[in-house]
Amino acid sequence: MSGGMTGPVRRSASPRRLVAIGVTLIMLLSPFLWLLQMSFKSNDLILQFPPPLIFTPTLQNYASLWQGAFAASFVNSLMSASFSTALALILGVPAAYALSRWAGRGKHALSFAILVTRMAPPIAFTIPFFLFYRWIGLLDTVTGLVLVYTSFNLPLVIWMMQPFFETVPSSLEEAALVDGASTRVVFLQIVLPMVAPGIAATAILCFLYAWNDFFFALILTRTHARTAPVAVVNFMNYEGWEWGKIAAGGSLVMAPVLIFSLAVRRYLVSGLTAGAVKG
């Protein structure tokens, strides 16, 4: 603790503190980097210890993944995450706007119900969904996954968008209303463009939550609609221990997440806590 444990004193970082931060960062990220470098190694090289510091990276693991069934599952992941995000936004954004302008009774109860939906362990929804899908034939379909993902993305949209709407000055809306515009026009043409960044951030978070899902896809899909996270685990279990391919699959699954989450890092906390704490 070179710079000392003084939280409150904000000043530029001392060289010792910078070194401490660098060392901590490398230590913490080393498991992650280990997976990444492994994905560029042949299987012989992976088993070689001490690990060579310099090696010729190969894309062979990625290539063989892409030729196999993995590509299809990647597309399934993309589709189910995108569609559920779109559905949640179309339904949730107007609802969030209405809630943000509504001071009626039941607002707190509704908010809490939404929070619980976000907090419930996935198994609570998996059992009813599994039985229902088995009955109406939605097991192993992308449509089925989209519906399940919407069950947690819709509450997220309603929760996350409200603060954004609250930042829009109501004087703007009132002026337009006095001029005779309908609420619908005010919402679509004045309010919505102003919260565009919020919608973008919310959309990315929705996409990530759906993309990251493992449990629902594990239970509700078999072969047709299998998503990328389940596919990676499957060839771990059924195609032997091809570590290079496993590492490459893991790297592919995390690639979109890393890119997107860097874009919305400011909103990560409010999304994760469902906004109950102003982080």
Partner: protein, 299 residues
């Protein structure tokens, strides 16, 4: 006056149209499943025996079985250990990390983002990463131990270390969350406090314990509670690293409910386990909301 009333009526109509689709959809895809879960938990439903899904002859049978089911009781205990140590370590290390990175510098601001990586990774990728670390043939950890002439047991298949292995991975994954929340809290502490204390001759440790710590305690508690709620969801780590074993050493309640429903086909009984878990989560969530309100009222 009547014009305003007209605007109000129009606004109300708009609100109804904007809210109704969401409420209906939420009711269908979240409300109905929740109700159905409760209903099914009152039956001895097994997938192999379809008629049992409507057998309400002994509705509380599942719940009466729970206290006498050693595997269920054990799973609660495993969950308690995992949650306690996981949350404690995450809050502690997250706080230390926040204190380390609470400084003004462009480089550090960029580094903060990199520290968030474990948290944003798909949970299954985190599980794969730790699977690689815990598999002796390919693990740098085991190689390092062999260099030091230490023979490490296979962590994930050892009765003594399996749960610890999961706690380590869980802490690695979620420490960035508490880090981020504590950092946000640190940035709201007025600088005058510690400056005044420095002038009065306080040392850095005293400033930490008498100024910083009391200031960030509420956020430590709240971020810990959020982690506590989410710790119930720990599934990919258990699934991939230990499969609940060895024996049922790492079988958390969530995993037991999964095995019951989708391995043993005991849907009804699994639902009752899930309901109990859900009630615990709701209780903790209520606590969080209550504390959040109190904090807002104090601020």
């Amino acid at each position: 006056m009547s014009g305003e009333g007209l605007v109000d009526a129009e606004r109300r109509r708009f609100n109804r149209i904007a809210l109704a689709p969401s409420l209906i959809v939420l009711f269908v895809i979240a409300g109905l499943p929740a109700i159905y879960l409760v209903v099914i938990s009152l039956t001895p439903f097994q997938l192999v025996n379809p008629g049992s899904s409507t057998d309400f002859s002994s509705p509380l049978r599942n719940y009466r079985l729970l206290p006498g089911d050693p595997r269920f009781v054990n799973s609660l205990w495993v969950q308690a250990k995992l949650s306690f140590w996981g949350v404690l370590l995450q809050v502690l290390f997250g706080m230390l990390l926040a204190l380390l990175l609470h400084t003004q510098s462009r480089v550090v601001e960029f580094a903060r983002t990199l520290f968030l990586i474990p948290m944003v990774l798909p949970p299954i990728v985190v599980a794969i990463i730790w699977k690689l670390i815990y598999t002796p043939d390919i693990s740098p950890l085991y190689y390092a131990a062999s260099l030091l002439n230490v023979t490490m047991p296979s962590l994930t298949s050892s009765v003594d270390f399996a749960l610890t292995a999961i706690i380590i991975a869980d802490t690695w994954e979620w420490m960035p969350f508490t880090f981020l929340m504590v950092l946000a809290a640190l940035q709201t502490i007025p600088e005058e406090f510690s400056e005044a204390a420095l002038v009065d001759g306080a040392n850095r440790l005293q400033i930490f314990f008498y100024i910083t710590l009391p200031f960030i305690t509420p956020i430590l508690v709240i971020s810990g509670m959020f982690r506590l709620i989410d710790s119930v969801k720990a599934f990919p780590l258990v699934f991939l690293l230990t499969g609940g074993g060895p024996g049922s050493v790492t079988e958390v309640t969530n995993y037991y409910a999964y095995l019951l429903a989708f391995d043993f086909n005991e849907i009804g009984y699994s639902s009752s386990v899930t309901i109990v878990m859900l009630l615990l989560v709701v209780a903790v969530s209520l606590g969080v909301v209550w504390m959040g309100r109190r904090r807002e009222a104090m601020a």
